[in-house]
Amino acid sequence: MLLRLDGFEGPLDLLLELARGQKLDLAKISILSLVDQYLAVIEGARKIRLELAADWLVMAAWLTWLKSRLLLPKGHEAAEEGESAAEILAERLRTLQAMRLAAAWLGARPQLGHDIFVRGLPEDLVDTDRSKLALDIPGLLRAYLAAMTRAGARRQYRPAILSVWTVKDALTRLALLVGNLPDWASLEQFLPETLGTPLQRRAALSSTLLAGLEMARGGAIRLRQEHDFGPILVRRGDTDDLSDERPNV
């Protein structure tokens, strides 16, 4: 028997074809005769061309091994090994055959789009309502950041305008106002009146305190605080009365 190997998808395909050639129920395949047929085909093919894809030869080698086991007398341990290997091969062939038949079964069914058809012109009975808006906070924040980042990048750099009351501002204002003081006055009275935010107020207060400390060091004013966290008091520094000065400013 001479079979061309080109028509087969692989050793298993050939084996299945040979098994079907036995015209037997696949449940009763004679593996031994299958092995002989396969080896004969391979031998024939090698006479025609020397190079054969490796998997054909691997299968041939494995089948030769299998044959040697199958020829051993029953009861032998190696013979049982052969039996079970033969059964696995037979099972693989049955599975492949079953899948071939399943493919044929599927192929024989009337197929949608080939033999039977669904409606070619379906009606669209769906109305789309796009009146609602899809809005969410993350989207809003992304938009805000995008706008700010882009605007920030485009804007020419200029130092931020300082909105805080600086120590220098405080020195000027304190020097201007303290001369008119007859007596102790709260430091907070020296803050500018137009400060908006609490942050600006706190900044101005600390600037004014720093200015006050600076002026007190030079003796231009005096500072006192009656108790911890109490109001800080200020008066002109040109009086001699030092008795009530507290150290804890």
Partner: protein
């Protein structure tokens, strides 16, 4: 012609019109039917058969097709809500108004670093997300804009304060924004402090 033969013509016509992706012309049907069959007559009788059914045979644009009976269409019609997104410019404008309100249009333009088309503001007005909040007492008395209660409910907010703080969003807010703070700058009434 026997009843069976006539019936087979109806079956063919029915199947063809059903499966075709365009309305079926009399000519196309004639090609499918056996020689000598009267396609017009088949169509006329088929239309009659379907006249009281849930699906009708109608002639449109020179061909025939099946259509849902007009009285049933409303029952089958489904409305699918596909919320639309605001265009990017509108979203950015909305965000700026939300964070800087009340804010004038020139201020928005200054903040975005780009001019603002009337269409964008109209979109936001139409959606009820922003509304005028009086006028700014500066030359020209420009309209001040702010967000509406509808804005809060659209975003699922109880109050404006529920928006993440600007300080938490921007690493260096002062670098990115020219003080749009509605409060007058501290030096306004004072001799200008040096910087």
């Amino acid at each position: 012609m026997s009843d069976t033969d006539r019936e087979s013509l109806f079956r063919l016509a029915e199947a063809l019109i059903f499966a075709a992706t365009t309305p079926v012309t009399t000519r196309q049907l004639t090609q499918l039917l056996p020689d000598g069959a009267d396609a017009d007559a088949v169509l006329a009788q088929l239309r009659e058969r379907y006249a009281t059914r849930g699906v009708e045979l109608v002639e449109v644009g020179g061909g025939w097709q099946f259509r849902t009976a007009p009285d049933l269409a409303p029952k089958l019609r489904r409305v699918v809500q596909v919320p639309r997104r605001l265009p990017r410019v509108a979203m950015e404008t909305l965000a700026i108004i939300a964070y800087h309100q009340p804010v004038t249009r020139p201020e928005i333009e200054e903040l975005r670093g780009a001019s603002l088309g009337q269409g964008t503001l109209d979109q936001l007005l139409e959606a009820g997300l922003v509304a005028p909040r009086g006028r700014k007492e500066t030359p020209g008395r420009p309209t001040l804009w702010g967000t509406t209660p509808a804005f809060l409910s659209q975003f699922g907010l109880q109050q404006l304060r529920d928006l993440p703080r600007r300080e938490d969003l921007l690493v260096e807010p002062t670098l990115l924004t020219p003080q749009p703070d509605p409060a007058p700058p501290p030096a306004a009434a004072e001799p200008a402090p040096e910087s």
